[in-house]
């Protein structure tokens, strides 16, 4: 009963033609009903019309990456979060979600590229067709989920700014306003703003994704609205949320957790059961909803797509 067109990227992970969720079907129906209801309202409220146009990008989501895995429930994905800007406990981000204002939103592009500037979120999103990608998400704390992201490849976004030959890395920053810090930013638990980075070839890998939604609707704030990175073969903290700045750099950028605990969190932070961690054994993980742990896969199971990025590198040293 596949209504989706598969797939520009193939996996050898026992892929089947399963349609993973009934939830997406349910959502489609909801979209249809909502669209009907809001047609008349749009004539009077142009802003509503714009929001609806945004929603429409999710309507015909192509599922481009799929694993034979059942995604976690919307509730699990949106209520069990690490987003220190909105609080340090797993339940804090959803409680404090309203503190994050995502409208208006703009993203500043800087550094080694031909088209730097500050772009509105609309400008950023406009040229991209959204796809759905069902990825495993592995937290360094040794738990994991399966998440149906919506969005577009990071490579497609970065190419638009014509990075120069000097652009060896891409750095990202999360929203931070010193004068109006988010609840978790009031204390220097981390050196704000939150920063992350990728090597250029990692950033351009087809798996690297900019997510704007989950389950076929816009990201809730606690999941990093309105725009976040998803790097499925790396520990979750690399997948920076609520991005306001993208900078092309020649040298390896600083990253927040690496600054906080350099012996624990490396720049690469690839999911790797062979690299010991002083806090959590990375050999196994607890899939959310399960009582017992299961073995963790190297590169979180995406080795076929990404292992070649690291040929010749000692991943124990470059952890």
């Amino acid at each position: 009963m596949s209504t989706y067109n598969k797939e520009s990227i193939t996996f050898n992970t026992g892929l089947t033609e399963n349609d993973v969720t009934d939830e997406s079907l349910f959502l489609k129906r909801r979209h249809f009903i909502k669209a009907g209801m809001s047609l008349s309202a749009m004539a009077y409220f142009p802003q509503l019309a714009m929001a609806a146009a945004g929603d429409a990008k999710y309507a015909g989501l192509k599922r481009t990456v799929d694993l034979d895995l059942e995604p976690h429930s919307y509730k699990d994905i949106t209520s069990y979060n690490n987003f220190y800007e909105l609080g340090y406990g797993k339940g804090d981000p959803i409680r404090n979600a309203a503190a994050l204002k995502t409208d208006p939103w703009s993203v500043t592009i800087e550094g080694e590229c031909e088209k730097p500037g500050t772009y509105t979120l609309e400008d950023i999103l406009k040229p991209h067709d959204f796809e759905e990608r069902i990825y495993r998400f592995r937290c360094v704390e040794a738990w994991s989920m399966v998440i149906p992201w919506a969005g577009f490849p990071l490579a497609a976004l970065l190419k638009r700014f014509n990075p120069t030959s000097k652009a060896k890395y891409v750095a990202f920053e999360t929203v931070y306003d010193k004068d109006a810090p988010l609840p978790g930013q009031r204390r220097n638990v981390l050196d704000w703003p939150y920063r992350e980075g990728l090597r250029m070839d990692e950033a351009m890998n087809p798996l690297t994704f900019m997510a704007t939604g989950i389950y076929g609707k816009p990201l809730p704030n606690q999941n990093g609205a309105p725009l976040r990175l998803v790097v499925p073969w790396k520990y979750g903290f690399k997948s920076i949320k609520s991005v306001v700045k993208i900078r092309f750099t020649e040298t390896q950028p600083e990253t927040s957790w690496n600054l906080s605990g350099p012996q624990e969190y490396g720049f690469y932070s690839n999911v790797n059961p062979e690299v010991n961690h002083p806090r959590w054994s990375q050999k196994r993980e607890r899939v959310i909803g399960k009582l017992f742990k299961q073995p963790t896969l190297k590169f979180n199971g995406y080795g076929d797509q990404v292992a070649s990025l690291y040929t010749g590198m000692d991943l124990r040293k470059n952890y």
Binding site: E141, V189, L190, G261, P278, L291
Partner: protein
């Protein structure tokens, strides 16, 4: 005010044993419900995303709470002379042990499925687990020897043995501090609590020592500082 106090005091005196037993029953019931809630959540009824983690955190926290409460008894007795609190010390200590044991059981069962090699590796590789495990190893003999018969049998050695609780409290806080990723707010609070609880004891040692030196004659006065070296003769 004084009349109320008199009524309360006489009421308390009359029903003291019952009140103490009742308080213990209530606290025990609360603990059992608390543990029952998190245990039930593993299988049904409560919609936690990560129920194993919830159980682990709840039992770890309350194990530490009861440990610190048991350490609070002696300072309260010294400062406020409410000696009946002593009747709660073993009780609180045993609940601490029970919580910490469940905490440990969750670790060896849910994280390692009783795989001994895997458990040992985790203890060796992760300092915070090593410290927590050391705390449990030291706490176990205290729980085992907490029964009156053994207490009497061991005599003075019982008190020396149970001084280990000071080290266990420190290990418990270090365990918590080291497992926290970045937000050390609560570990700092617990550490301050331990500093106060142990500092109070140090202070009393110094005062007692000073008093002893001043006295010169050992027979002049009874020691009333309430240090547990004066064994309750019950």
């Amino acid at each position: 005010m004084s009349s109320i106090q008199v009524v309360q005091t006489s009421f308390y005196k009359k029903y003291k044993a019952g009140i103490i037993t009742g308080a213990k029953l209530l606290i025990s019931l609360g603990c059992l419900l608390h543990i029952g809630y998190f245990t039930t959540a593993l299988f049904c009824c409560v919609d936690f995303a990560n129920p194993v983690e919830e159980l682990s955190h709840a039992t770890g926290e309350w194990g530490l709470h009861f440990l610190l409460l048991s350490l609070l008894i002696t300072p309260l007795r010294r400062h406020f002379k409410w000696n009946d609190l002593l009747k709660f010390r073993r009780f609180l200590g045993l609940w601490s042990f029970f919580y910490i044991f469940i905490h440990f059981f969750g670790f060896i069962f849910f994280d390692h499925f009783f795989n001994l090699a895997s458990i040992i590796e985790d203890i060796i590789d992760r300092p915070y687990i090593a410290v927590g495990f050391a705390g449990l190893v030291l706490l176990t003999p205290l729980a085992v020897t907490s029964f009156k018969r053994l207490q009497k049998k061991l005599g003075k050695r019982w008190f020396s043995l149970h001084k280990l609780v000071y080290i266990i409290a420190i290990l418990g806080v270090v365990h918590y501090w080291w497992l926290v990723k970045a937000d050390i707010f609560w570990p700092v609070i617990y550490a301050l609590a331990v500093v106060v609880l142990l500092g109070d004891r140090l202070y009393f040692y110094w005062v007692k020592d000073a008093a002893k030196k001043q006295r010169l004659k050992p027979s002049s006065k009874k020691d009333t500082t309430g240090q547990p070296s004066v064994m309750p003769k019950s």
